[in-house]
């Protein structure tokens, strides 16, 4: 029996008089990859923030396993130009890491040689990888990724997810991610939560993609996404990943 890392029980969250999440029950267990999908404003980020204790429940509870080490990669991190920060210093927050550990972490994240650069001078992709490197330095049992590939191009995103897969393999940590890249994500996850203020449906990627609630939210085009993905799996032709239209054609 795998250990449960986080338990959400009948969780409701309100902000500014608006209900963002309602009656959410979910658990995350050791080593599994859970993906949260849902339309804009469906409470995906809030759910992650509730898991780390940043969003307070109006009702219900969030329970973390004892001494749970969490690595968190936020959706975006706006670094104020007034704050000087080298990559090495950033990796040492809040706990100091040795130069050797920092070099190894950056190597693993695929961005060696950045150690002495200023954070504000990094490109979007480099920044995202440094964030990941920092999260991994905490040796997390649970890695939370909030739209971690935002701002990356398709090859960049694909490389990022490959790296995530490798991380799970190496560290054996559980991963909870929010993503828009439906086809990539669906393929990589053990379990999918489909969210729209509440949990509409959940289960294996295939069963969720077939669920009427999911299709009501994303339309039949996403069924096409699955098909596209499966198609993509055996071939490596060029695809127009961004366009729903071509995905529907592929359906």
């Amino acid at each position: 029996m795998k250990r449960t890392l986080i338990t959400l029980k009948d969780l409701s969250i309100r902000a500014d008089g608006r209900t963002i999440l309602e009656h959410v029950n979910a658990t995350v267990s050791e080593g599994e990859i859970v993906t949260i999908v849902g339309p804009n404003g469906s409470g995906k980020s809030t759910l992650l923030r509730a898991m780390i204790g940043a969003a307070l429940p109006a009702h219900g509870t969030v329970k973390q396993a004892k001494n749970l080490r969490i690595g968190y990669v936020p959706q975006k991190l706006a670094l104020d130009a007034a704050l000087p920060m080298t990559v090495q210093r950033f990796l040492s927050l809040p706990r100091r890491v040795s130069a050797r550990d920092a070099i190894t972490a950056l190597d693993h994240a695929g961005v060696p040689d950045l150690r002495n650069r200023q954070m504000t001078k990094l490109s979007g992709g480099q920044f995202q990888r440094v964030l990941l490197a920092r999260a991994l330095l905490e040796k997390p049992q649970l890695l939370l990724l909030d739209e971690a590939t935002q701002g990356l191009d398709q090859p960049g995103a694909a490389a990022f997810y490959q790296r995530i897969e490798q991380v799970r393999h190496d560290l054996g940590c559980a991963i909870v991610m929010v993503s828009h890249d439906l086809h990539v994500v669906m393929a990589a996850s053990d379990r999918v939560l489909c969210l729209n203020g509440h949990i509409c449906c959940e289960g294996s990627p295939r069963s969720v993609a077939d669920a009427p609630e999911y299709r009501a939210l994303f339309g039949s085009g996403t069924k096409g996404t699955m098909a596209l993905y499966q198609h993509q799996h055996s071939h490596s032709h060029d695809h127009d990943h961004g366009s729903t239209l071509s995905q529907e054609k592929a359906d």
Binding site: I52, Y72, P74, A82, L83, P84, M85
Partner: protein
């Protein structure tokens, strides 16, 4: 040596500059310049309160500043238009304080000394206040440094690491109230915020890490304090404003030359 008023003034100026440096960095990073202003202005209310009830002035100032800091910190999270609100609160506190002091007209009080500082009249007891208060501020900043940095970068990153950014913010508020009490004698209520912001801003273009910025701000602030004092002595100008002018000059020099000296 401490019998020379210029030596006492120099020690007071340097003490405040060092204590204000790391705090000033956070004021710059977190864009809380106005919070510093509001906290400082609230101390006039503290002075009025002390006069009305014959309380010792220093604790009254700390309490008033702390109350203001906590009020503002609480309001910050509630989605108000903070810029406007702080503008209202800061100046109301100052005006209400000045009116209250005037109403207590039977008391003779040199309000100018509080508003503009009176560094040349720093006594040995004031020096003790400044250096003990300064040491307390530094102790808080050193102790909370990492947690405060993470909270400043991104509150959610802090939560994920088991740090409560709201609690860290309270430490900052406390340090700010202490800084006001410590700095009043040196630059006065009206210019305290300047002493927090300007050395930190001047240090920015010269450094690559947060720690270096704090150290650099302390050095530049001390230089400004000594330079301002020397200038005031020679030109017979008010000492507090002269110190702030010297800091502004340092800011100009590093701001213009910094990007050429160091390419970060």
């Amino acid at each position: 040596m401490l019998d020379d008023f210029m030596v006492r003034a120099a020690l007071a100026g340097v003490g405040v500059a060092i204590a204000a440096a790391p705090l000033g960095c956070f004021v710059v990073w977190r864009r809380m310049a106005y919070l510093g202003e509001a906290t400082a202005h609230a101390s006039v209310l503290g002075i009025a309160l002390a006069l009305a009830f014959s309380l010792p002035i220093l604790p009254a100032i700390i309490v008033a500043a702390l109350t203001m800091g906590l009020t503002v910190t609480l309001l910050r999270g509630k989605g108000f238009a903070m810029d406007t609100l702080l503008g209202v609160i800061a100046h109301t506190a100052l005006a209400a304080g000045l009116v209250s002091v005037a109403l207590l007209s039977d008391v003779r009080l040199d309000l100018d000394a509080f508003l503009f500082g009176d560094i040349l009249a720093v006594a040995k007891t004031d020096l003790v206040t400044i250096w003990v208060g300064g040491a307390l501020i530094l102790a808080v900043m050193v102790q909370r440094w990492s947690a405060l940095l993470v909270s400043t970068l991104n509150p959610d990153l802090a939560y994920a690491s088991g740090i409560d950014p709201k609690r860290e913010e309270l430490w900052l508020t406390l340090a700010m109230a202490l800084a006001v009490a410590v700095a009043i004698k040196v630059v006065g209520i009206l210019l305290i915020a300047a002493l927090l912001v300007i050395p930190a801003a001047a240090a920015r273009s010269l450094v690559r890490t947060p720690e270096a910025m704090a150290v650099c701000a302390a050095i530049l602030g001390s230089l400004a304090a000594l330079g301002g004092l020397a200038g005031a002595y020679m030109a017979d100008t008010p000492a507090g404003p002269s110190i702030v002018c010297a800091a502004a000059l340092v800011f100009l020099v590093t701001g213009v030359s910094g990007p050429y000296l160091y390419r970060n």
